[in-house]
């Protein structure tokens, strides 16, 4: 187990290195932050030069990158060009809200997809299955920002049931979580359905029935438990795109998370904040994938942590 975790950790570090290269250099293709900072007036070349020097932007790019890496190793993400605040602190500050939203999305997705997928599979070919599949299709087809706006219009503006923006209590989490989790729930419901169908035709299900177990025990304890295995991997992989989705949802719901911070930083060409935010999101993704891999070996006894099934 330890060996497996170490190997996965090394792998994760490589992935993060690759991400850091991509972020670092691609941001610098977007324009010079100093000219944006002085957008208001007409600064003297000397002033620009000194700002540059201060921010370390006068060094050659590879040198800047190495400095960035060196600091990253100690979780020092530099300071915001704008506010001078340490980026690490800024990101950590906002990360809680973003993670809360992401898990809210996953929770909504599971809450909807598990029953829909299971029922669809068990009642295959009936009206229940038909509506389940229609639901999946609808869930997948609506872009999440549009869904977010619709939810606000209906539940906040018209019905006034739920708050539309900000975060000040659990009720604020509901609409953005639904908006974020809907697409995932559509895809997940399909996956659960096909995975359930595959498992329902397995011999061990007949064995479970031949034992005289109640049908729901056969479905949940025996079939669903097996169908869950591919589902967990899938959720782990999808968590990344869900985190990506928070960037948009945070805009729509004025959610005080990392995503909104990054968008603001992009507008201001605040390199350290963009880099720091994205790198931290990437780290979370990598960490979640690692956790999924580990939990996978717990859920499926055939997978030995250490690789390969026997």
């Amino acid at each position: 187990m330890l060996q497996f975790i170490i190997r996965r950790l090394l792998h994760s570090i490589l992935v993060l290195l690759a991400i850091s290269v991509i972020i670092f250099f691609s941001i610098r293709l977007t324009g010079d932050p100093v000219t944006v900072m002085f957008a208001a007036g007409e600064p003297s070349p000397e002033a620009i030069e000194s700002v540059r020097e201060n921010l370390g932007l006068d060094e050659p790019l590879p040198v800047q990158y190495l400095v960035f890496l060196k600091n990253l190793a100690t979780f020092d993400l530099g300071e915001s060009f704008r506010t001078g605040l340490p980026v690490t602190e800024m990101v950590v500050d906002k990360m809680g809200a973003t993670l809360l939203l992401a898990f809210g999305g996953v929770f909504v997705a599971m809450l909807i997809a598990f029953p829909v997928g299971i029922l669809s599979a068990v009642k295959r070919g009936t009206a229940v299955d038909f509506f389940g599949r229609i639901f999946s299709l609808i869930g997948i087809s609506f872009p999440n920002f549009w869904l977010g706006i619709m939810l606000i219009l209906i539940f906040s503006v018209n019905l006034q049931w739920l708050p539309a923006s900000g975060y000040d209590g659990i009720e604020y989490l509901i609409l953005p979580s639904i908006a974020l989790g809907m697409i995932l729930s559509g895809i997940l419901a399909r996956l659960v359905r096909s995975s359930m169908l595959e498992n329902l035709s397995q011999q061990y299900v007949s064995t479970a029935r031949s034992k005289g177990l109640k049908e729901w025990v056969v479905i949940m304890r025996h079939t669903f438990r097996n169908a869950l295995i591919p589902t967990i991997t899938f959720l782990g992989i999808q968590f990344g795109s869900l985190l990506g989705g928070t960037v948009i949802i945070e805009q729509v719901f004025s959610w005080p998370g990392v995503g909104r911070m990054i968008i603001d930083a992009i507008n201001q060409r605040d390199y350290p904040v963009i880099q720091g935010g994205v790198i931290m999101l990437a780290m979370i993704m990598v960490l979640v994938n690692l956790l999924v891999d580990i939990s996978y070996s717990l859920i499926d006894p055939r997978i030995k942590a250490g690789g390969g099934s026997s």
Partner: protein, 338 residues
Amino acid sequence: MSKVLDVKDLEVSVKIDNERRNIVNKVSFSVNEGETLGIVGESGCGKSMTSLSIMDLLPQALSVTGGSLTLNGEELTKLSKNAYRKKRGKEMAMIFQEPMTSLNPVYTIGFQIVELVRNHTKKSKKEAYDRALHMLKLVGIPRADQVLHEYPHQLSGGMRQRVMIAMALSCNPGLLIADEPTTALDVTIQAQILRLMQSLQDEMNMSIVMITHDLGVVAETCDRVIVMYAGEVVEEATVEELFESPKHPYTKGLVASVPNMDKDEEYLSSISGTVPTPEQMPTGCRFAPRCKHAFEACHQTPPLFDVNEQSKSRCWLYHEEASNVQEGRKEVGAGNHS
């Protein structure tokens, strides 16, 4: 001897495109206490569907559409789903052909047996685990106390089939249905499993329905046999009768296709042609198109004739009143040696 299981005129049909087709047609047989009844026949003749209908485990598209099933004097077909369910695992149990996939891969052996025991008894967890351990030892599993905590993938096919047997018998069912329990196993393991089943049968005084297409298994384990062809019973006989003087031409073909060391045969005979599918079922005798003795009468559906005390045959050659019966018998006998 009392009848444990009595099957009368069982009909199983499948619904395809709003059309019903019989897969099992008026099948009748009974199993006495402590007896092993064999069901033999080629692949696709309806052996599995017959046994699954007894357990009420038919696949969704299939259903019992006629006949009666009586277990220990109680009519099963009229039971509610729930009452039927409570019989499974307790009064009747089943083991399947594929030991590799019959157990749930994500639960330990112990858990799976305990689950069954606790489903039907009021035993505590501890008592149920003791029962599971006892059963594993009974079926000859070495290191039983460790195996209790192992997962199916850690065991070989033969061991898994032993586990299946241990589980099936853990609540002392009076009837065990074994659907080709040894087909997927090595020959040496096959013999071990069959011997195990026989010794457990003696010990627990249970009845066994042994489904197989292997006449070797029949010879070794069964008391009586029914031979199925295309969803129908074509012959019923004691195991001695079956091998010494098979009646139905299909049975003769089956018996003749077993390699025999005593006789000096130059080639193995086998039955030409294949089992008809439900879509293209011949009218009259279903075996007639493959039968070398087919004659006029075979256009009519033959009933199951009582040939003697122990055997029945669904073949016009055994029509008592027909004067050509004796000739027919000779002819069949002669055909067997040619």
